[in-house]
C-alpha cells in the first residue's frame, strides 16, 4: 500500500487539543507523521486538502445496519468505526470497522451474552419491561465487566405518544409524550446504577430534566456517560409542522428549550458523545400519515454537518463524534496521533460535506477511492 500525504489541512484532534495546519502522512495503514506543510514522502500520493478539516475518523455508538448501503452512508458521513445496535441484521460489509453491541434484554428476560465480550450491552430503542429487570441486567453486566447502554423510557408515560409534549403536538392533534417519560426513567436508571455499580451509558437523552439528573450523578462520582443524537440537537418538535415525517423519530423531538440545553450540554462536555441513531425503515413503512409512519432517520451521512448546523463548536462537534464516543467504551479509535490507525475524515466545512474517508489508510469514500 502506497503512502498518502494529506497536504496542509486543518488538522483537528480534540483529544490532544491539536488544531493546526499540518500534513498528515499515512503509511502502512497507520498515521506515520504529522508535519509542518511540505512533508516529502517518496512515492506517496499527495492529496491537497488546504482549506479542509482533517479529522479523526468518526465513531458512532448507535446505528442500525441492515445493508451495505448503511455502511456506504457511514463512509459518506466520515464514520470509520461503528457500534451496531443489536437490532442490526447486517452480517458482513465493506467499510468502517464494525463492532456490535449485544442485546441487554430479550423480552422480559436477560439476553444471552456472547462469550467474547462485546463493547456494550444495549437496550437499543426500547426500555426494560421493569426496573427489576434493569437492575438484574446491570448486576449481570457488571459481573462480566461489560458496560450497559440504556434507553430510558417509562412506557406507561409514553402511552400512544409520538411527539414531545408541547404546543405543536396539541395543535396538530398528535399524541404527545411528556418529558417525564424519559426523565423519570433516567432518574430510576441512575438510582439503580448507584446501587449496583458497573458502567452505565445513557442513550439518546432529549430533555433538560434528564441532563439535571446526569449532572448530579456525574458530580456524585458515578461512572456514567451519555449521548445525544444530531437530530435532537438540530430540531425541536416544531419540525413536525405540516405533519412532516422527518419529525417521526424515536425518542421523540422535544421543546426548543430542551434543544438549547442539549446543545449547551454538548458544548460543556456533560454529554460525552453524539450517536446517530441511524435507522432506515423499509420505504413502504416510512410513509405518511405521521402516526402510521415507522420512526427512523437516515442520519450517518449528515451527522457532522447536522451537529455543526446546530451551532456546536467545531472542536466539540469533532470530539463528540470521535474521541468522545471511542472513550465511552474504550474503542481504539477517534485519534490522530502517530502510530494510530489511519482512520481519517476530510471534511469540507464550507460545503458541509465529507470529502474523503480513510479506513486504515485506505480511501473508501471520495474522489479517487479504490474501486
Amino acid at each position: 500500500m502506497s503512502a498518502i500525504v494529506l497536504r496542509a489541512g486543518r488538522v483537528i484532534d480534540p483529544a490532544s487539543q491539536l488544531d493546526e495546519t499540518l500534513d498528515v502522512v499515512v503509511r502502512d495503514g497507520r498515521v506515520a507523521a504529522l508535519e509542518k506543510p511540505g512533508a516529502i514522502e517518496a512515492g506517496a500520493r499527495v492529496i491537497d486538502v488546504r482549506g479542509l478539516w482533517v479529522l479523526p475518523g468518526l465513531v458512532d455508538l448507535r446505528c442500525v445496519l441492515h445493508e451495505q448501503q448503511d455502511l456506504d452512508r457511514a463512509l459518506a458521513g466520515g464514520f470509520t468505526t461503528l457500534l451496531a445496535d443489536p437490532s442490526s441484521s447486517l452480517k458482513e460489509g465493506r467499510g468502517p470497522k464494525l463492532y456490535r453491541a449485544s442485546a441487554l434484554f430479550r423480552g422480559s428476560e436477560l439476553a444471552e451474552v456472547p462469550l467474547k465480550a462485546p463493547p456494550a450491552l444495549s437496550s437499543g430503542f426500547g426500555p426494560a419491561t421493569s426496573a427489576g429487570l434493569l437492575r438484574r441486567a446491570m448486576q449481570y453486566a457488571r459481573s462480566l465487566s461489560v458496560p450497559v447502554m440504556v434507553h430510558a423510557e417509562d412506557v406507561s408515560l409514553t402511552g400512544r405518544g409520538l411527539l414531545g409534549e408541547g404546543l405543536t403536538a396539541v395543535r396538530l392533534g398528535i399524541p404527545a409524550v411528556p418529558a417525564s417519560a424519559e426523565v423519570a426513567a433516567v432518574a430510576t436508571t441512575l438510582s439503580l446504577f448507584a446501587d449496583v455499580g458497573g458502567r452505565l451509558h445513557l442513550s439518546h437523552l432529549t430533555c433538560q430534566g434528564s441532563l439535571t439528573h446526569l449532572r448530579e450523578a456525574k458530580r456524585a462520582g458515578l461512572h456514567v456517560t451519555a449521548d445525544v443524537t444530531p437530530h435532537h440537537l438540530l430540531h425541536s418538535d416544531e419540525l413536525a409542522d405540516g405533519y412532516s415525517i422527518a419529525a417521526r423519530v424515536w425518542p421523540p423531538l422535544r421543546q426548543k428549550a430542551d434543544v438549547e440545553s442539549l446543545r449547551h450540554a454538548v458544548e460543556e462536555g456533560l454529554i460525552d458523545a453524539i450517536a446517530t441513531d441511524h435507522l432506515r425503515p423499509p420505504a413502504a413503512e416510512r410513509e405518511p400519515p405521521f402516526d402510521l409512519c415507522a420512526p427512523g432517520r437516515d442520519a450517518l451521512a449528515t451527522a457532522l454537518a447536522d451537529v455543526l448546523r446546530a451551532g456546536i463548536s467545531p472542536t466539540r462537534a469533532v470530539a463528540a463524534l470521535s474521541s468522545g464516543p471511542a472513550s465511552v467504551f474504550g474503542l481504539n479509535a477517534g485519534r490522530i496521533v502517530v502510530g494510530a490507525s489511519g482512520d481519517l475524515t476530510v471534511f469540507d466545512a464550507k460545503a458541509g460535506q465529507v470529502r474523503y474517508t480513510f479506513v486504515a489508510g485506505q480511501l473508501l469514500h471520495g474522489e479517487g477511492k479504490a474501486a
Partner: protein
Amino acid sequence: MPRHLISLEGMPRSTIESIFSRAALHVSGEVRNRPLIGQVVANLFFEPSTRTRSSFETAAAGLGAHVLNWTVAGSSASKGETLLDTVKNIASLGPIALVIRHSSSGAAALAASAVSCAVVNAGDGQHEHPSQGLLDAFTLWRRWGSFEGKRIAIIGDVLHSRVARSNLFALKTLGARVVFCGPPTLVPRWFEGLGAEVTWNVDEATLDADAVMMLRLQRERMAEAAFPTEAEYHRRWGLTVERATRLKKEAVVLHPGPVNRGLEIDPEVADGPRSLILEQVSNGVAVRQAILEHVS
C-alpha cells in the same frame, strides 16, 4: 388549484362569513337551482360515521350531485391498500370533491397533496373537523348575529377532540372568547398557546358563558384512567340540570352528537329550551352545502 377545506386554523374571517351567508340561503330555501347537477361527490370514510356521512350525503344530493359512498367495510383498505392509493383511485373516478374522514391527524392534507380535485376534511384523527366547527359557529351566528363580547365554553375531552380545535379556530376568528374546560388529563394548559382560555373549574367556565358546548365523552378514555368513573365525570364535568339552571339567562347549549345522555349532559338539558342540538344537525346540511359549493 382546487380549493380544499382542511382546517379552520388560519381561515380568513371573510371566507367563514361568505360560507355562512351562503348557508343561510340554503336554510331559508332561497337556493332554487342545483349547482352541482351532474357532478360526483365522493365520501371516503376510513372511520365509521353515520351522522357526518349522512349530512354530507344529504348536502350533496340537495345540490344535485351524485354521491359515491366509500367505506372501509367491504373495501380494499382492510387489505392494506394505503390511504394514498385509495384516495388516488377514487379521485380517478372524477369526483368534484372528496369528503374524507380518517383516523390519522393530517390525513386530509395528505390526500389533498395527492389529488387534483377538492378535498373536504370530515375529520382527521385528533386534528380538525372543520365542517363541524363551521356548523357550530353558524348555529350561534344565526342566533346572535355577532360574536363580539361572546364567551363560549367547550367542555369535555378537548385533548382528543377535533371538534374542539375546529371550533376554537372558527370562534376566535369570528371574535369570540373560547374557554376550554374538563379534567386536566383531557384539557392540558398547552391549549392556551392556541388562544383558548383553560380552566379545570367547570363553574368558572360556565357561569358567564353565552354558549356551552359539551363534547361527547369517548368511553375508552376511562380505560386510560383520564377520570375515575362515569358517575364522577357526570357529577364534576357534566352539564347537569342543576348546573344548567345557573347558566346565564340567554345561554344556549350545544353538542356535536351523538349525545351520551346522563353522562356529559342530562337529558332534560339536551332536550330543554336552551338546547340547539337539533338545530345543529339541520344547519349541518346547509353549511355542508355551502362548503361543497365553496370548494367546487
